[in-house]
Amino acid sequence: MTVKTFFYGLSASFAIPWLIMVAIPYGSMSSMPNVEYDENKDEKTGTFQPLHSGRLGIGSMIYAQEGCTMCHSQLTRPTYAGNDVFRDGQGGFKADPERGDTRRITNYMDFDGEDMANIGETRIGPDLGNFGSRVSSKTVEENAVLAKELGVDVSELGDNAFNGELYVYQHLFDPRKFIVNAKKSNCPKNPRFFEKKKIYGQGAVDAVFEKDGYQYVPNDRGRAIASYLLNLKRDGDVPVSMIYNKAKLLKPAPAPKKEEKPKEGAEEAK
């Protein structure tokens, strides 16, 4: 083997997979086409426009920088790759009171607005791809229970209503202190997301902890990651062309009646 043949062989053996696995997909996926609804299958027309809100860009970056990906995934895989869609609350809910069966696999539009897809390293903690949906669901559940206890309508709960955002802040501040049934959580405390401020008047509404005339309120970094987490809602309707197992999901289960018993909540919401 001469040096010349060595380098030709080395260049070819590296460049071909580099092009096929990295460079070409990187370029081609950087501008993905819009997905159109099919009138026959979707019973509507137009372009599918997934809704994203919240501070996704900066929130996603903080999420990655803090290493949340080490324990939390954000991927609902197709059935050939795992049982994710069968875990209630991960890819959506089997029987959402409002929307029926919202379960689906993760698609390439779910990470719009983020610099990178935080699909995660391990599942030492729960999958967070639909964390926002689970908090919304928990909010509805908690308010329903509270309203029943107080004998009032949910709309009359006022300040007593469950605050999903505060729930997230408390989890970030100290998951083993505030969150009921989370004593076994091995999620770390994140004091750097909060700042200690002297209490003036009634104090801040989003303070997570008060002690000796001071309270801990979320800083910009804490607000950004909470906004990101609360907006992780990757469930619901997508065009049929994006559904992996069309045979099963073409006919979604009808939405249950309003008076039906509420579904079981998400795992960390318990």
Partner: protein, 503 residues
């Protein structure tokens, strides 16, 4: 007459001594600072591991949060220990095999210092939550840029040494080193450009996919070839026998070169990327068994029959352990990449365990073998304590076995099984993981103890406090005196040199 016969041999001996002397400080710097970073990495690994089974540990500050210490732990393991140990072996091995003294040792040494300074800054930034968050590229962008730049100041001289090499034959170790010198910048630049510089330009999913490819490529196309180059040098040198099969060595090389760059994307099985990518990678990960078996057979067959060398030589012992580690790495890699198994392993701790097995069980073992061979030559002193070498070997073996067999294989699959059950909640998976997390902590503690004394041993050797003897430090005392004859003194070599000059 005698002088005529021995002159070429003596000239070569003098040349090798000159090569060793020229590289003493850069090589010792890379080895010693690498070992120090390995100790730091293991401390961070222990903190991370303890927090898995005792979450309240060190939680008074965010500085040691699991996600942060994990990133710092892997960064120090890869760029602190791995890269620096590899640099030390590359520059020495290439200079020795090319019979070229280093004329740019000062530049390499300065680059090494800046490398360590940049790493220190990067680790602090990671722990402050200001890293990049991208797998195996956790340092901020500016640190990665500096490391890439420094690589050219460190690696270029080895390419030049090869270009102006003496002698016609090119050894298999040289092919591997050349390939690693070629792959490393390409892989690192790909990760740097696609995942850090153009972050936000590409599709978020492809950023993640590229980083998955990057970490695999760094492992298989940099750490692996350097470790194999070292093994192909040490095994024949210590046993005094040629490599078992040169054709098998060439075959193993090309099998790695052809299969290695396809691996990595299997970690994105089921993710919204073109579906051929994870499947191709999974197939390639299984095919990696071919080069691994070829290399391991070659190394083990070369060492076979030299039981006395195995018993005596720490270099050979570590190298053979590294060859077994290569088989273990490829075996675990193939097993967890089977599409039917991926659903259990994709998000279980087995992936982290696989990387630890690869770096600590295969790469590090080969590097230890090389270091125990190289250091006495560049310092012109023999290792001080056979006891320290022996404890280093056995504690490393115990540590790697605890990590590879208990944490990775058993724990990884137990964890994978529970997270794949839809009805189970995260707390159950955490409970299932608990005993295996303790085994990881135990493995790390074994490794930390051995690394601490290894680091001290290296430092003393760099200070030239080693034994002034012509006898190597062997693990087993020979019952009938030393196999190298009566005890000699290194000063005789100096006399030999002066005689040669006079002649």
């Amino acid at each position: 007459m005698s002088t005529e016969v021995n002159s070429p041999f003596l000239e070569d001996t003098k040349l090798r001594a000159d090569v060793d002397r020229s590289l003493r400080h850069p090589v010792m710097f890379f080895f010693t600072s690498g070992a120090a970073w390995l100790a730091v990495s293991l401390v961070l690994g222990i903190i991370t591991s303890i927090k898995t089974h005792a979450p309240g540990f060190l939680d008074c500050t965010s500085f040691f949060n699991t996600g942060l210490t994990m990133q710092a732990h892997m960064s120090t393991l890869i760029y602190g220990w791995g890269a620096q140990a590899a640099f030390g072996v590359i520059i020495w091995l290439m200079a020795r095999l090319s019979r070229q003294e280093s004329k740019r040792s000062g530049i390499i040494l300065v680059a090494g210092h800046i490398w360590n300074a940049a790493m220190t800054y990067g680790v602090i930034k990671i722990l402050m939550g200001e890293g990049s968050g991208i797998a195996w590229l956790y340092f901020p962008t500016e640190v990665t840029a500096v490391l890439i730049g420094l690589y050219f100041f460190i690696g270029t001289w080895s390419v030049i040494a090869f270009r102006v090499r003496r002698g016609g034959h090119i050894y298999i170790s040289q092919w591997y080193i050349l390939a690693s010198l070629f792959w490393f910048p390409w892989v690192l630049l790909t990760g740097f450009l696609f995942c850090q510089i153009y972050l936000g330009e590409g599709h978020p999913m492809m950023i993640t996919a590229t980083s998955a490819w990057f970490r695999s490529a760094l492992l298989l196309l940099f750490f692996t070839p350097v470790a194999i180059a070292s093994a192909y040098y040490i095994a024949p040198k210590v046993t005094g026998r040629p490599v078992y099969s040169y054709n098998l060595a060439i075959f193993g090389f090309w099998a790695l070169a052809i299969v290695g760059p396809w691996v990595g994307m299997q970690r994105l099985m089921g993710a919204p990327i073109p579906s051929f990518m994870p499947y191709l990678s999974a197939g390639a990960a299984i095919l990696l068994l071919i080069p691994a078996i070829a290399v391991a057979i070659n190394i083990l067959r070369t060492a076979k029959g030299s039981s006395s060398a195995m018993a005596h030589s720490p270099s050979l012992r570590f190298t053979v352990a590294g060859a077994v580690g290569l088989l273990l790495m490829a075996g675990i890699g193939a097993l967890i990449s089977l599409p039917s198994v991926m659903k259990y392993t994709q998000f279980s701790t087995v992936q982290y365990g696989y990387e630890l097995t690869a770096i600590l069980g295969f790469f590090s073992m080969c590097m230890y073998g090389a270091i125990y061979f190289i250091v006495p030559r560049v310092t012109n002193r023999e290792w001080i304590s056979v006891g320290l070498i022996r404890q280093h070997f056995w504690l490393s073996i115990y540590g790697v076995l605890a990590i590879a067999l208990i944490y990775t294989i058993t724990g990884g699959f137990m964890h994978g099984d529970i997270i794949e059950r839809p009805g189970e909640v995260a707390a159950t998976a955490y409970s299932r993981l608990y005993p295996y997390a303790i085994s990881l902590t135990t493995g790390f503690i074994f490794l930390l103890i051995s690394t601490f004394f290894f680091c001290v041993h290296l430092l003393l050797m760099w200070l030239r406090l080693g034994r002034r003897s012509s006898h190597p430090t062997l693990l087993v005392r020979h019952p009938h005196g030393s196999p190298h004859g009566p005890e000699g003194d290194l000063d005789k070599l100096a006399e030999l040199d002066s005689n040669l000059s006079a002649n």
